[in-house]
Amino acid sequence: MNKSVYASPDQVSETKRHILTVLVDNEPGVLARVIGMFSGRGYNIDSLNVAEVSNDENISRVTIVTHGTSEVVSQIEKQLLRIVPVHSVTNLDQEGSSVEAEVALVYIYISETNKKKVYQLCDLYRARKIENENNTTIFEIAGASERVNRFIKEINEITKVEIVRSGPVAISSIKKNEEE
């Protein structure tokens, strides 16, 4: 990233995709603090997802997909922890096993000639048609980013589409001692 002579000579590890999940107090400005840290220090955000996860405690979970060497990503984690309303930062790749998913909504331009192909493909990928008042063909597909990517690539080969994606959310799949 930084090629100056002040750059660390030890940065030899390869650039990888990382999913960070950050628990934050749900207070005004908290998202700006998180993304401001990324832009201010020159880190990358590939996708970002944020939603409140516990009503009673006012905690939100931010899922950030980033890429960088392990040195850079470890620096990102430490910088995130400095932000006052941040509770915890987990690097799901480091933890080893996690499950991730994202949602895409796809507006498909459909015609008599491609209709059959489109429905076949959607069936194959278990993309669900969303009923709507205008009766347009909008499909919803959920799953790992890879799967969504493949679906989009293939549907693009058939017809014109318009896409919106949520970016992935992820959760650790490691067995925990379940209380209660």
């Binding site: 100056s4 002579v5 002040y6 005004p28 400005g29 700006a32 430490k78 400095r82 006052v84 915890s88």
Partner: protein
């Protein structure tokens, strides 16, 4: 409820409960209710500055010289934007500051109202944390949390933005001890923190043959006791020690173990020792680029121990072998007890060889300069200032540039908290308001701002503040009519093309002082110098001493950008090789 008070009263009550004695500020429309409440009380003193930028540097000077939190009170819009430089400065140098800004009333927020700006948005990256308080009942808890955050862990600036309607609204006050701050919002090392790492670190030190302690500003932030412990530990080990610009004073300059400052304009022996050491013990420093020089050639053969309260400093630029996260005072105390308990001792023979080597480097006499003639050399001016003030309780502040480095090299600091300079951000205009703050905190001490002719003009308006509050601050200008450090870099790296670094039409500093009803003195030759310094010290008034120094003096030794510790430049004749000079040119 009857025990409700106004938001403005809550502000003052919170400050009083936090033990605040003085606030540096400047009034304006959006903070009038707070100024009105301030008028009706006597426990908190207000120092009126002449520009908000002066207020925050004064608060920094106050904080760094007293160890307390500096408090700033300014209005919305331009009041808030004028403190941004100072907030960033405090962020970089870890100074505890609470800055209160007024904001337009809530119903006007977002309407581009008069003197409205997105203060929390603008200051987010340059504060440790900031608040926009919308509910008057949360005001006291925000204040108590803000003070805790500013002081806790690695200190820093915290800003509280208060809309005018919240200052007028009535609400209840909650006392400090009733506020529970969730632990994730603070830095709290566990009581048994990093015990293994500390043991590993101490063992590593005990086996060192060529150890060096590398001491930073974190030791000063950890309190005077930390400096005492650091000195004690270094004495036990018998190791040489070098300090960063921010760490000067942690170990006394006259201490037999001290090699003085390291880094870009540090001592030759300190930098060589850093380069050649086998165990480096970094206590409260952050491997800043001014210290490390070229990273791939930084202390290539050493094992490194790094004690820092801020985990993000670990492996940020330099990978270390033994990281220890914690407060200097606590960690070093533990190190001492482990050292004693295990009866560790460094191998005396190798330590002696190491000191022999260091003494050889010392013979280079890197601070040597040509002091012939009647013209005052800037180095000589600082040396005389030191000699004539060393027996007085003296605080030295500086602006930024050559004079700052000469002050760091030639003024000898024996105690922590006596040296206030803008290290991380390098803010010209810092020194004079910081001196005002230090003088407010220490009314009976001698406070001298060693300044350059360019830097001093950046906050010269604060003369009026110093005179109003009868603060006998001394401004000691090393006047060479140049932005000296810019000129030096232009000479060394840009073929001597002095683009815009000469200041034409400088004011007559003596008359300038007199126009503020302060005292102006001038030294033109070495014959005047001692006289002027003595007169300056004896004057019980604000003084500007205009010291005319040789104009094109360079600050040496110097590690040029892109060079390593063992490639120091001792004089102008010794040029950097072309290739690394070209590489270094792009750096700052």
């Amino acid at each position: 409820m009857n025990n409700e008070i106004t938001g403005a009263e809550i502000v003052l009550k919170s400050l009083a409960e936090q033990g605040v004695e003085v606030v540096f500020g400047y009034p304006g429309g959006a903070v009038l209710p707070i100024y009105d409440t301030l008028f009706k009380q006597n426990s908190i003193k207000h120092v009126l500055v002449r520009q908000e930028g002066g207020a925050i540097h004064a608060a920094e000077g106050y904080a760094r010289s007293t160890g307390k939190t500096g408090v700033v009170l300014v209005t919305s819009g331009p009041g808030a934007t004028n403190v941004v430089t100072g907030l960033t400065d405090a962020m970089m140098d870890s100074v505890p500051i609470v800055c209160i800004t007024g904001q337009v009333p809530q119903h006007l927020i977002g309407s581009d109202a008069f003197q409205e700006c997105d203060t929390t948005g603008i200051t987010r990256p340059c504060t440790k944390h900031n608040y926009l308080v919308k509910d008057v009942n949360k005001l006291s808890s925000v204040f108590h949390e803000a003070f805790t955050i500013a002081q806790n862990g690695r200190p820093g600036p915290v800003l509280i933005d208060i809309p005018k309607d919240v200052q007028f609204a009535s609400g209840t006050y909650e006392e400090k001890n009733k506020i529970i701050i969730p632990s994730h919002r603070l830095f709290e090392p566990s009581p048994d923190f990093e015990k293994n790492k500390i043991e590993e670190g101490v063992e590593l030190i005990s086996k060192a043959k060529k150890p060096i302690f590398y001491i930073g500003g974190g030791c000063i932030n950890s309190g005077p006791k930390a400096s005492k412990l650091v000195r004690e530990f270094i004495n036990m080990v018998g190791s040489p020690v070098t300090m960063t610009l921010m760490g000067l004073g942690v170990v006394g300059s006259s201490d037999k173990n001290s090699l003085g400052m390291l880094g870009m304009h540090g001592m030759y022996e300190a930098n060589m020792a850093m380069h050649e050491c086998d165990v480096m013990i970094n206590i409260g420093a952050r491997f800043d680029d001014r210290v490390t020089g070229r990273l791939d050639a930084f202390s290539p053969n050493s094992k490194k121990i790094h004690i820092d309260i801020d985990e993000s400093n670990i492996n940020k630029t330099i990978n270390v072998d033994v990281p220890i996260i914690g407060d200097v005072k606590q960690v070093v105390e533990k190190m001492i007890s482990i050292w004693k308990e295990k009866n560790y001792k460094i191998d005396t023979d190798s330590l002696k060889l190491w000191w022999d080597k260091i003494n050889e480097w010392k013979e280079v006499d890197c601070l040597n300069y040509n002091n012939e003639g009647k013209q005052i050399k800037p180095q000589y001016a600082v040396q005389r200032l030191y000699e004539l003030t060393k027996n007085t309780k003296t605080f030295i502040t500086t602006e930024v540039g050559q004079h700052q480095m000469w002050a760091a090299q030639f003024y000898k600091f024996e105690e922590p908290n006596r040296w206030l300079t803008s290290g991380g951000l390098g803010t010209m205009g810092y020194g004079f308001p910081a001196a005002i703050g230090a003088q407010v905190g220490h009314p009976d001490a001698l406070v001298v701002d060693i300044a350059g002719d360019a830097s001093i003009l950046m906050n010269i308006q604060e003369m009026s503040t110093a005179v109003q509050y009868r603060l006998p601050v001394k401004i000691f200008i090393l006047n060479n009519e140049y932005m000296g450090m810019v000129r030096q870099w232009q000479e060394l790296l840009h073929g001597g093309r002095y683009s815009e670094s000469y200041t034409d039409s400088l004011p007559d500093f003596v008359k300038l002082a007199e126009s503020y009803k302060a005292v102006g003195l001038r030294a033109k030759t070495t014959d005047d110098l001692d006289n002027v310094i003595n007169q300056m010290i004896e004057t019980k008034n604000t003084v500007i001493a205009d010291i005319w120094v040789t104009k094109e003096e360079n600050c040496f030794p110097m590690i040029q950008s892109g060079s390593a510790h063992n490639e120091m430049m001792l004089s102008k004749d010794q040029k950097q090789d072309k290739k690394s000079a070209e590489k270094g040119k792009i750096l700052v």
